[in-house]
Symmetry: C2
Subunit: 318 residues, 2 copies
């Protein structure tokens, strides 16, 4: 029921994936039925009566909406009736309800938000992206472990290199938190620590996992989004500013140009993971369309198949 | 003498600007003469005997290199023999020597690094970009005042809108520092406070001044640089990946494409300002070429003409 598009997006995504995923739609049965039309019989629906709204405080979310679709989806996950949850709803609400309904994996203090970003040569996992503003050295260490497991068992990299986001690469650079975390990561034989990374080299393939405190990670992620949007805007404006003959000359490459514009966004695959919980929970961007929501479902499937929570709980990389 | 190119860059920049700036070159006279050749008589040289090297610690910079070109340039500024200093040397060294040779403007605790970035519709000043990792609310307030004066008297915006970089736009979002600073800026009638801004909207013209603590500002700046580099890389790769006929079709727009790639970099004008000092000091990027170094000199000229230190000292915007 969440996200800007609500069931129009999630139902279309579910219908498109029915052949390769066993999906349960949690939400208002009438609304889902209206969107699905005659194809409603292809869907499994777990009906709920309440929907979270942007006006709800976190206290409302936790206490005054017992039958919200978001909560009930997480209840199904906690009961083992589903293997993962994907939601387009509010991130803070999803975080709060996930923590209320699921347990943390032993050894992890709080969930982190992690995402796979595209680079020039391969991509990398980055976490935390905003769930934890005041991080301890211990938490950054946990992020490194979680990112290593994601990179290994979702992205298939045997020995993921872990870097710490900082504002310089020499060991004495940056805040105390980053410097102490660097020592901690370097001392952990189960990690392949690759040093500090600055944002200007993020996309150059220097690491498979980039660890950040939630504030710095979110600042970097949003700045990247802003710069990518500006690049797309400039490319569009450039095309519009060309003379008629020049535009004509671009006709043969038009489709390629559209693909280039799409590629400018390092976050082009939708789906951010709430990592460290006892189950797989993926947040889809609120503005995602059906195709984007499918990406988020695919991400959840990869994490379920990679048995990420189980591996974390079993102490892999500890 | 600083920067990757040394006098090859700075001498060429100076020769190119001789008609509209009264320049003094501070450095090794023999090296400058070698680069300038017969045109050396067009230059005013203030000879020095020492050059800072990357191996110098800040203690070396401050105590063991009395005749470094960087220090002597700042001595000339402190004595009023020049109106501003532009250096391509190390930022930390320039910051330390500037603080040692110049005084702070009354009411400003420490210099901030500020820079004008290009957006989709006009640009904006952003500060601090890395000089102050542990900022107080008071310092963020000072950055807002300094940015307002820069936007007004360098960029010509009568009532600059000031935003605070944060990881959400609602008042309760983000770390305590940002929330307290928001209250402080909103309460200052001499500022036009426009609320929090997230990195994804930085380039959309939401503010003329963006205030950040030095850590967040540097993280954002470098991430933007990384994303812009990736966009340029993708554009180049896209062209190279086209078939021969498609490439032929691009011939009429080749020059335009080069300009587009240049435009992808929001930091395309070189020159970061050390603001809050009693004189104008501009840092040129170490990798700048002669044209880039000229941009940094132009920035210094604009700040000198705008009388930025004098206006700050006179308490404008206090």
């Amino acid at each position: 029921m969440g996200g800007d598009g609500g069931p129009a997006v999630t139902v279309a995504a579910a219908l498109g994936l029915a052949d390769r995923a066993d999906l349960t739609l949690v939400g208002g049965a009438a609304e889902i039925g209206r969107v699905a039309g005659s194809r409603v019989r292809e869907l499994r629906i777990h009906p709920t009566t309440e929907v979270l709204s942007p006006g709800d405080s976190l206290a409302d979310v936790l206490r005054r909406r017992p039958d919200s679709s978001m909560r009930q989806a997480l209840v199904l996950l906690a009961r083992g009736e589903v293997d993962g949850v994907v939601s387009g709803g509010d991130t803070a609400a999803l975080m709060a309800l996930s923590r209320a309904q699921l347990t943390m994996v032993p050894g992890i203090d709080r969930p982190a938000i992690g995402k796979y970003l595209q680079g020039m040569a391969g991509g990398f996992w980055m976490l935390d992206l905003g769930a934890n503003l005041d991080c301890s050295v211990e938490q950054l260490h946990q992020f490194a472990r979680m990112g290593t497991i994601l990179a290994r068992h979702v992205s298939g990299i045997a020995t993921p290199r872990v870097a710490l986001l900082n504002i310089g690469t020499e060991p004495h650079k940056g805040p105390e938190l980053q410097r102490l975390a660097a020592e901690r990561l370097a001392a952990d034989p189960s990690l392949h620590y690759a040093g500090f990374v600055e944002g200007n080299r993020l996309f150059e393939g220097v690491a498979d996992v980039v660890v950040a405190d939630g504030f710095a990670g979110n600042i970097a992620l949003k700045a990247i989004e802003g710069a990518a949007r500006m690049a797309g805007h400039l490319l569009r404006g450039w095309i519009q500013g060309l003379g008629p003959l020049q535009r004509l000359s671009l006709l043969p490459v038009r489709g390629d140009l559209a693909q280039l514009r799409h590629g400018l966004n390092p976050q082009r695959y939708n789906g951010a993971s709430l990592v460290g919980l006892s189950g797989v929970v993926v947040k889809s961007h609120g503005s995602a369309d059906a195709e984007g929501f499918q990406s988020a479902i695919d991400e959840a499937i990869l994490e379920i198949r990679g048995r990420i929570p189980e591996r974390l709980a079993a102490g892999e990389g500890r």
